[in-house]
Amino acid sequence: MKYDILLCGVGGQGVLSIAAVIAQGAVMEGLQVKQSEVHGMAQRGGAVQAHLRISSSTIHSDLIPKGAASMILSMEPLESLRYLPYLSKDGVLLSAKEPVLNIPNYPDLESVLTVIQQYPHHRIIPALEIARKIGSPRSSNMVLVGAASKFLPLSPETLKKVIEGLFHQKGDGVVHSNLSAFEAGRRDA
């Protein structure tokens, strides 16, 4: 088994925190993991990506080869289109619906969403809207993890355990809202 995920978004959105949850879940299930991150300059509001590779056998390259990604998991619709050459022909293109409008030449949002919808295996998740609806606007990241969990080769129970571990220090309320976000995202995917 091998499953390559290209995670992307805009610096400051928390791409690395999503990557960390999925990577930790894979480690808990005894799989091999490599996760390449972007630190430094790009984190200042620029385009960021992380390459997360999960496999039952040895992983060599830290970077995903072109056409090999089983999933693009994007926190921002325009960014989801930046890495298409990495997506395998039957891969899943999964993006949050809400744009980050920090550039002057952002295209018309509808046209961006229309492009995403042209790919056979796409999901557009209104992550922020869902997170707000369940009363936890800060957990839109976990909505996306929940949505992605529909496709990942990991059990949702494992991912929930990771989320519990991650937020356990912040109290039961925070754990609960993040788990709800995960469930809501999973339902929406």
């Binding site: 990577a23 060599h60 295209p107 042209q118």
Partner: protein
């Protein structure tokens, strides 16, 4: 011991801790920063892990610890080694005592850097050993080994990593930790004073050591030669030499090759010449896959006979600049490219470059400067390395030059002495302490009309928010102490609500025909946010 998921940087840090390192020094620089941060975060009871004023002081402090017998780690990014080059090159001539390991993180592709220089040239230049891990486990193991080698050969040892290893996370199995070295009560100073007469002896020693060093790298399992068994060796199209993470990209493609190729992986330098000759003996062509500049490839041209074709970056089999990728290596191996899906051809994807955060204090100071520059069209604005360098692109487009740490001040001095009436240097607080003070002394000594604007956010921000070595409160006294007229050392609050007052001050100082320093103070937004969230957590 239990398997841990670590960044390459973190694996280096843990390797150093487990090898009994006593002190770790460095200056923040992407992609090296997380090495010291890991020790600071997880080993608060020691070893000591601290940020220094710059890479030169960091290196020399590490040398001092080695002199008295302790193991010392020093970390920096590739361009940081330029700053530390003086002690680095000279330290190869010393009788290194406590293991001294310098970890340099190169940034091919310039993700967060001004150039893509390759530190292996420096190791070669200094005539020391250089280990280059290809994965996180090796980053851990090789850092440990580097300390042992440093003590065995009595030389500093370099561990060279690159961005993709530094910032990639994978499993590492640690081994039992070693105790720290004892502090020497009697220190033997022989071999540590590089007066010419002594330095000649020490250099002769270093040259003598080269023989043993080369025997070591020739035999080291890190330089692994694989020659497949086959019936007809004449049909082998090429041999492959990989180094560092170049191996990962080769292995990624190996299943598509259809036949096994002779392969030599390089993990420790100087190069094992005999192994290279053995590899080349049975092939018409050698392909070199190395991350960074064509270091091995260039040396091969002096080792191998003329008949053998050498491929790599110099013959454009791989690009000369930028970092390697699995697909680039695939092409170099002669394999067909693989494709993903495409964007519709009519859709154009705008770039999203990094930018100053919304509400950043630098942005507010730049807005004031920009207004005054409209009145002074002849002004020259030099700048420096840090978040504020992002002000060089539109819509701000204020800094004209960004070269290296501290150069804003020195270049303003040069432009002013060459005849420019209004020269302004824009520099951050940490960069000023790193390398901006010395050129300011030049300006004061010759009363050169420049204005230095110190953007003081109390933070080394671009590298993730490390604390500046000296707090903001120290800057005015420091600068007055150097001899700038106290009337022209002015602190302002970097906030748009004071724009009118700030503009007035900046306008006056830009026109002042002497040395003036304006310190624009406001805490980095990220630092403020982190403090708030730490406080919430504590409650």
């Amino acid at each position: 011991m239990e398997r841990m998921a670590l960044l390459g940087d973190e694996a280096v840090a843990l390797g150093a801790v487990h090898s009994g390192v006593s002190v770790a020094y460095g200056y923040p620089g992407t992609p090296s920063t997380e090495i010291l941060e890991y020790i600071q975060q997880f080993y608060q009871q020691g070893p000591l892990a601290v940020w220094c004023t710059n890479e030169k002081t960091a290196y020399e402090e590490a040398l001092g610890a080695s002199y008295v017998g302790k193991r010392a780690l020093v970390t920096m990014k590739h361009v940081g080694l330029n700053v530390a080059a003086d002690p680095f090159i000279n330290s190869a001539l010393l009788n290194i005592r406590g293991g001294l390991v310098v970890v340099v993180a190169d940034d091919p592709g310039m993700h967060s850097s001004q150039n893509e220089q390759d530190s292996r040239f420096y190791a070669d230049f200094a005539k020391i050993l250089c280990l280059e891990p290809s994965n996180q486990q090796e980053a851990y193991d090789m850092t440990r080994e580097a300390f042992d080698l440093s003590e065995r050969f009595q030389i500093p040892v370099m561990v060279r990593i690159t961005t993709r290893l530094a910032h990639s996370r994978s499993g590492v199995v640690p081994s039992p930790a070693r105790q720290e070295n004892p502090l020497l009560s009697q220190v033997d100073p022989s071999g540590w004073a590089l007066l010419p007469a002594f330095a000649r002896k020490q250099y002769a020693q270093l040259l003598l050591k080269q023989k043993d060093i080369r025997v070591f790298t020739e035999e080291s399992p890190h330089n692994q030669l694989y020659v497949p068994n086959r019936g007809n060796p004449s049909s082998v199209p090429m041999g492959v030499i990989t180094a560092g993470i170049g191996k990962n990209y080769y292995m990624e493609n190996i299943d598509s090759l259809g036949e096994e190729l002779p392969h030599l992986h390089i993990g420790v330098y100087p190069l094992p010449v005999e192994k290279i000759r053995t590899l080349a003996a049975s092939v018409p062509r050698v392909l070199v896959i190395e991350e960074g500049m064509p270091f091995i490839e260039t040396i091969l041209r002096g080792i191998l006979p003329h008949g053998i074709q050498i491929s790599g970056k110099l013959d454009q089999s791989l690009p000369l600049s930028g970092e390697l990728e699995p697909d680039l290596v695939r092409k170099a191996l002669g394999l067909p490219s693989r494709e993903g899906v495409h964007l519709p051809s009519l859709f154009s994807l705008p770039a999203r470059p990094p930018q100053l955060c919304q509400g950043c204090p630098h942005g507010d100071t730049y807005a004031s400067i920009k207004n005054i520059l409209k009145e002074l069209p002849d002004a020259v604005v030099t700048s420096d390395i840090g978040c504020y360098a992002l002000g060089a692109v539109p819509p701000l487009a204020i800094p004209e030059t960004i070269v290296c740490m501290g150069a804003s001040v020195s270049m303003a001095v040069g432009a002013s002495e060459a005849g420019k009436k209004h020269t302004v240097a824009v520099i951050g607080d940490s960069t000023f302490l790193h390398s901006g003070i010395t050129p300011l002394i030049d300006a004061i000594a010759r009363n050169v009309p420049i204005t230095v604007v110190i953007l003081d956010n109390g933070t080394v921000a671009m590298t993730g928010g490390q604390e500046t070595v000296l707090s903001t409160a120290n800057l005015p006294a420091l600068i007055r102490g150097l001899g700038v007229d106290p009337e022209h050392v002015i602190t302002i609050e970097a906030h748009r609500k004071y724009e009118r007052e700030n503009m007035e001050i900046l306008r006056r100082e830009f026109q002042y025909p002497g040395v003036s320093v304006v310190i624009a103070v406001r805490e980095c937004l990220e630092t403020a946010r982190k403090k708030k969230s730490n406080k919430e957590r504590a409650e």
